[in-house]
């Protein structure tokens, strides 16, 4: 189950917030103490190869954040932005150009000054080596150039405001004086990275079993980081990782732990804590090119035919909360949630209502309790899931039982992770249970765009980047495009309400539960952790680059 977190979310990226930027960490104990060694506990499924090339998708989650920094940190949980390598930024009035003012006084870890030229170089580098453009930023950018001594201007092919998240927050900046000498940046291992970040990896600091991140004494945020060292041991299996955490040898976990209260919290009630903020929906995807999913009433019937709270409780130990048919991940994005619309539809488990909708759609109930169409074809479907994701299998058993009461039969079929996504990408499925393969973002737009925007889709048989169900609706597309073209928050909220309206009325997908950032932390000897009352960063060690903010603020007590 943990593996799911790593695979689908771990390589994504995110951001956080602020107080760290002005160097005044909120700590109840006064001035944070310096020193100490923190140990991370995260089953990454791999031993380290000690490469830190931030453009290599296999290892960027180890380099990006504490070693290579973004221009602006954008908190995945609440979209609050913290200036990092850029001290400020500004959109042009037509939202087609973005100007960053580059921070002065920042030095690379080898002592060379960081300049606007490094930023321009980084973007040109990923343009000329498109294997490095992991965020596809050049699919929207048309030019990146320096203006004056400290400004970088990015021009877009069309308004692409949400791409700020990928450009400012998901793109590591590298030094021109080092990378211009590297002949093949794609095959570069980068075992001694030179970055601007608060931590460094020195020669001998990495073995296949552990990475030691040591403090960068010349870090630009004076006084930070507080920690001397952060150890990141490599765990290839969940059990040893959970034991390591529960026995107190590691203080910061990103683990799925069954029965966490008795297994982890009880070992040290005063100090062991956890917080699982939801970040993405786990859906039932419907293939709209398959009959009868082209019928709105059938889709609504399925939405009424799933007992979300029960799925959450039985399938997910209650750790992953029930999803909302609005598509908004709550409570994380409560700010965007339109409760009055949601109440109007009230998608609670209601098999009677589901049956009534099916009858209205022209189906009749068979003797086995399953509805049939006029030709006698039963409403029986195969739903794909990923093998090894036992929580999903447990969830689907509840869903199967629920839908049976509503008169619909589903059969689960498990595929390997890659095979599963390949079926979704090319549209070869009836129903599928799961999340997008793309990362979520700091507000609901990112996930809903990739779920519903027909431009991310592709004809059946061809690879789609998003919209696996081939939902094609001009109104939806228009709302998403308008959202992407505005920087006005009020207008964005009003557009999002209309998208929620489509989710509720048209039911293009059915959110069932919400996947979370697994996060455990120990206050024994350490403070400054992100908490529900101080959500300054998405808190899992695999939330990239959010983990840099945590490493900046945590200190010993």
């Amino acid at each position: 189950m943990k593996r799911r977190g790593v695979v689908s979310i771990g390589l994504l990226v995110l951001v956080t917030v602020l107080a760290a930027a002005c160097g005044s960490p909120s700590s109840s104990t006064g001035t944070p103490l310096k020193g100490g060694t923190l140990t991370i506990d995260n089953e990454s499924g791999t031993l380290w190869n000690c490469g830190f090339n931030p453009f290599n998708g296999n290892v960027s989650f180890l380099a990006f954040g504490p070693v290579y920094e973004p221009l602006v940190y954008d908190n995945l949980l609440n979209d609050r932005k913290v200036p990092m390598l850029a001290s400020s930024y500004k959109w042009s009035s037509d939202s087609k150009s973005l100007t960053f003012t580059i921070r002065s006084g920042v030095k690379w870890s080898d002592g060379q000054p960081f300049t606007a030229a490094d930023v321009v170089y980084t973007f040109k580098l990923i343009k000329s080596n498109n294997a490095l453009d992991l965020q596809s930023v050049w699919s929207v950018l048309s030019d990146v150039s320096q203006q004056g001594s400290d400004q970088v201007v990015m021009t877009f092919q069309s308004p692409a405001v949400p791409y700020f998240y990928y450009i400012a927050n998901q793109q590591p900046i590298v030094p021109e004086h080092v990378w211009s000498k590297i002949s093949d940046p794609v095959a570069e291992k980068n075992d001694i990275p030179v970055g601007t970040g608060p931590f460094m990896v020195k020669a001998g600091g990495c073995t296949p079993q552990n990475i030691s991140y040591t403090r960068n004494p010349n870090y630009w945020q004076s006084g930070q980081p507080y920690l001397d060292k952060v150890n990141y041991p490599a765990f290839t299996d969940n059990d040893p990782a959970n034991q390591y955490l529960a026995s107190g040898q590691a203080q910061w976990g990103g683990q799925f732990i069954p029965n966490i209260d008795s297994y982890y919290v009880k070992k040290d009630k005063a100090n062991n804590h956890y917080w699982f903020p939801p970040i993405q929906n786990v859906n039932i995807f419907l293939n709209h090119t398959v009959r009868p999913f082209d019928n709105k009433l059938v889709r609504q019937a399925i939405a009424y035919g799933v007992d979300r709270p029960k799925v959450s409780k039985i399938g997910e130990y209650g750790y992953q909360p029930p999803g909302s048919q609005t598509g908004i991940v709550i409570p994380t994005f409560n700010d965007w949630y339109d409760s009055s619309q949601a109440q109007k539809y009230s998608y609670k488990f209601d098999p009677a209502k589901a049956q009534q909708l099916l009858q209205q759609a022209g189906f009749s109930k068979g003797s086995d309790g399953i509805f049939k169409d006029a030709s006698g074809k039963r409403l029986s479907f195969t739903i794909y899931s990923i093998s090894g994701y036992t929580d999903w299998t447990a969830s689907l058993q509840v869903v199967q039982d629920n839908l049976k009461q509503a008169g619909i039969e589903i059969k689960e079929q498990d595929l390997s992770h890659d095979d599963y996504f390949n079926h979704l990408f090319v549209g070869d499925f009836q129903m599928a249970y799961g999340s997008l393969s793309t990362s979520p973002g700091p507000n609901p737009y990112y996930e809903l765009r990739n779920t519903l925007y027909s431009q991310t889709s592709a004809p059946i048989g061809q690879t789609a980047a998003g919209d696996y169900g081939r939902w094609t609706d001009a109104q939806t597309d228009k709302l998403i495009e308008r959202f992407g073209a505005t920087t006005d928050s009020a207008e964005q909220h009003s557009l999002m309400k209309q998208i929620e309206g489509i989710m509720l009325e048209q039911v293009p997908v059915i959110p069932v539960t919400e996947s979370v950032a697994w996060y455990q932390y120990s206050t024994k000897g350490f403070a400054g952790w992100p908490t529900p009352s101080d959500p300054y960063a998405a808190p899992a060690p695999w939330n990239i680059p959010d983990w840099e903010q945590v490493m900046l603020r945590v200190h010993k007590t």
Binding site: L47, G51, G57, N130, G204, S416, G466
Partner: protein
């Protein structure tokens, strides 16, 4: 001589078959490197990016299977196993070289210890058949050897590292000790290896005891043993020079073969103890659909086992003239 040549021919044919299977099997898995690559990057990156990555990784999806096969054989001759997808830009041979010493050290030593101890217990047990040693140890170890490795490992961790705190519960060395070859480092590695090695010895010793004891008993019933006793030779001399020397033959062959299997690592032990050996890498390669690493590891295991089988054949031929005559 003819016997040896025939064994070598057999070895070469088997090797070729193994290499070919090794080429075919990963290609029968659902998905494939290019699908794995696409999902790894969440379907988000552009086709141009995927293409550039495919070139970098050496995945030629346009090439015909036959051409790929010939290229694969050619690369093998040069000892080139390709680039690891999961550890890019590292080469498969580099990845294997990192893990090999750990597995050879841990599993190799544990196998030798289990063999030596098991054989000795078998010899003494049979010599005093029905004695205290013989009535307690063989049954106990035979029962334990029926327990799965990983289960014994988990119990050991629970008992000796979590409850008693005597030994570390994971890893091959601690993160605080640098990996330079120094006395503290060697001691640290030894300290970390005690629990996993103990697990392997505990679960594998039963087999050695049983075969050795049974062979000994058969041998002790031979006429020449009675003759030796009649001559008044010392019991120690009879036990080792006359009985054990003959009884150990099948055990030695088994030992040579088990050394071949060392390479495959005690997969489950390595996973339970989060040990950085070949077994851990193999699991990881399968999970990550790292086809080139999978192929490299399977190849290594196959060749090691084949070599061990051939070595066992030669050993038997050398120790037991009857084999040669029959051939």
């Amino acid at each position: 001589m003819g016997y040896l040549v025939r064994r070598l021919e057999f070895f070469l044919v088997t090797l070729w078959a193994a290499l070919t299977l090794n080429f075919i099997l990963p290609r029968l898995l659902p998905g494939g490197p290019e699908v794995a690559l696409r999902t790894r990057f969440h379907g988000r990156v552009s086709p141009g990016t995927i293409k550039s990555l495919e070139v970098a990784l050496g995945i030629h999806t346009q090439q015909g299977q036959l051409q790929q096969y010939l290229e694969y054989l050619g690369n093998l001759l040069h000892g080139d196993l390709g680039v690891s997808l999961g550890f890019y830009p590292e080469r498969v041979t580099q990845v294997i070289m990192v893990a090999l010493p750990w597995t050879l050290g841990l599993v190799g030593m544990a196998t030798v210890i289990a063999f030596v101890l098991g054989t000795l217990i078998g010899i003494f047990g049979a010599w005093r058949r029905g004695g205290l040693l013989d009535s307690v140890l063989p049954p106990v170890f035979v029962v334990i050897s029926a327990f799965p490795y990983f289960w014994v490992g988990l119990i050991c961790i629970l008992l000796f590292s979590i409850t008693l705190g005597w030994f570390p519960q994971a890893f091959g060395s601690s993160s605080e000790v640098t990996s330079e070859l120094s006395l503290p480092y060697v001691l640290d590695v030894l300290w970390h290896s005690i629990l996993p090695a103990f697990t392997i010895v505990l679960t594998s010793i039963g087999g050695w005891i049983l075969t050795m004891r049974n062979n000994m008993i058969t041998t002790l019933a031979e006429d020449y043993i009675r003759m030796a006793r009649a001559k008044g030779l010392s019991p120690t001399r009879i036990m080792f020079q006359y009985a054990a020397r003959n009884a150990i033959l099948p055990n030695l062959v088994g030992f040579a073969m088990s050394l071949g299997f060392v390479i495959s690592g005690a997969l489950l032990v390595e996973i339970v103890f989060n040990y950085p050996g070949l077994g851990t890498f193999l699991l990881q390669a399968v999970n990550n659909e790292d086809f080139s690493l999978m192929q490299g590891l399977f190849l290594l295991i196959t060749v090691a086992v084949l070599l061990a089988v051939v070595a066992a054949d030669f050993l038997t031929a050398w120790l037991d003239p009857r084999t040669r005559e029959r051939a």
